[in-house]
Symmetry: C2
Subunit: 309 residues, 2 copies
């Protein structure tokens, strides 16, 4: 289960290529705005490249970050499930992205793929992969959710029949706002601490997740981006974005890891939406489209089995 | 150092009266909108009354909450500094408020006063007071900051000369965004775990802090509420409100305590502003009013001594 420098380089090359591919896909679909690139270095070691597109025709904000950091002491957010690794010298790299569309009929989406190595004096380094993607609709369409999960399942299929259900369930559990008793999204995939299949298969799986993201998201954007909407839909989108902020600042492991490890704050918080509303005591009108989001979508469901797909 | 039921009732009566007084002061100054009252109960014990004013002439949102909760196990956010009390049966009550004005020339302000009792099987209950207030300007005025701190000092003076400097320093340290290296505000007072002066003096001090809040804030609001402002000032206000959200969801002990103890989410998060902006990589223009906020105001300063007050 050891890892060598050539492996680390292969993972890094994959991440850099993925960042490029996704940026091109997003920019092409947007057609108006383009990505600003910011390279940054971290005093404690490593750095990254942040890419942010703003005020596009389709996308209000898209942030697609690569980072590769080293540190003297693995922070708690990365080692909560593995206390024996806390405080070890570490290396972490990955691509993380969040896309906030203009049109409230187009869902927000997030994807992340990451690779960690924890070093120790008198033993082999411990490595693992993590990642996933989830879809956060405002005005959901059932066929979009099915497409999203079918693509997630396709990403998992070569690695075993149990992989999609396992990481789909983990996604529902992870992207959960306890203080609201709501899921953040209609789910997708989430995995962490993955090294049980050996390096090549774990790396292959992580690549499959990364490579399926655009296939999962762009067709949904294409289908919904020109849908007519009104001020009330925009208001609801801004309101629901508040939940995204709450999740990322209170619970999200990647955000907390970034802030705890002295990462670049502006890059970490590019996940936060450009404009957000909170409204005390707001409740959807029973039977409305907004109500259906809560009742039918923001809870764990076995989308594919229910639809006989 | 013990506390009896009559003491608890006196504290509760004070809190209920303070909530009324502050609501009347805010409503009167606003002149247009009024407070909506919501009573709530908590399944585990206790409850509260939330009062929120929205879309006022002067105030975009003002939330002034009373809560009194009991629980079987003191949550970590309340016992981080006193691990020996963690998990004890507890009682907590207080008034907590955040006021977000319409005009960017008027600062946001926050105040909180609270009382805790932790019970145990074979020993006397442990009690303590906490509280404070802090001022968060967007376009700061030096005379407003002096007035705020002079009022804070006046609240402390009867309790000893060292009280203001000690709790002023604690405020600067507490309301600090480590990931931004910025204070949240120009400070004020913050104290916690206070029981060292005996019950009556501690209670008296907490009342003095609560009673001085309107004197500290309303004159500033009066002075600035009719100042002309433009779209760029509003944009900066919305942007800076993002820091308020970041502080409250990442660091604030009251917010974390509330969410961890199963409090009423809508009441806890009424501290979040009604409308907020994030903008990747934004920097103030050197020498601008916005720049001065960062350079001159959002760092610990000994305001009164510097001004010879």
């Amino acid at each position: 289960m050891t890892v060598n420098l050539a492996d680390v380089d292969r993972v890094r090359d994959y991440f850099l290529g993925l960042q490029d591919t996704i940026c091109i896909g997003v920019e092409t679909l947007d057609g108006k705005s383009s990505f600003r690139h910011d390279n940054w270095r971290r005093p404690e070691g490593g750095g990254g490249e942040s890419r942010v597109l703003r005020d596009g025709e389709v996308f209000e904000q898209a942030g697609i970050n690569f980072s590769h950091v080293t540190g003297a002491s693995l922070p708690p957010a990365a080692s909560a499930r593995r206390p024996e690794l806390s405080g070890r010298r570490f290396e972490a790299m990955g691509v993380s992205l969040v896309i906030h569309p203009q049109n409230p009929m187009v869902p927000t989406s997030h994807a992340n793929v990451r690779f960690f190595v924890a070093h120790a004096e008198n033993s082999e380094p411990v490595w693992w992969f993590g990642g996933g993607f989830d879809l956060t609709p405002y005005y959901p369409f059932h066929e979009d959710v099915l497409h999203w999960h079918q693509t997630a399942r396709a990403a998992c299929e070569p690695f075993g029949e149990d992989v999609y259900p396992r990481f789909k369930k983990w996604c529902d559990e992870y992207f959960y706002l306890r203080h609201r008793d709501e899921t953040r999204s209609v789910g997708g995939l989430f995995f962490d601490d993955l090294n049980e299949w050996g390096f090549d298969s774990c790396f292959g799986f992580m690549q499959s997740v990364g490579d399926h993201y655009l296939d999962a998201y762009l067709p949904i954007v294409e289908r919904r981006k020109d849908t007519t909407f009104g001020a009330e839909h925009r208001e609801f989108q801004l309101y629901r974005r508040g939940r995204y902020v709450e999740f990322n600042l209170i619970y999200d492991r990647g955000t907390l890891f970034g802030l705890q490890s002295g990462g670049r704050t502006e890059s970490i918080l590019m996940s936060l939406p450009p404009l957000v509303r909170w409204e005390y005591g707001w409740q959807p009108r029973p039977g409305s489209a907004e109500d259906s989001l809560y009742t039918d979508y923001l809870r764990p469901r076995d989308w594919l089995a229910e639809a006989g797909k």
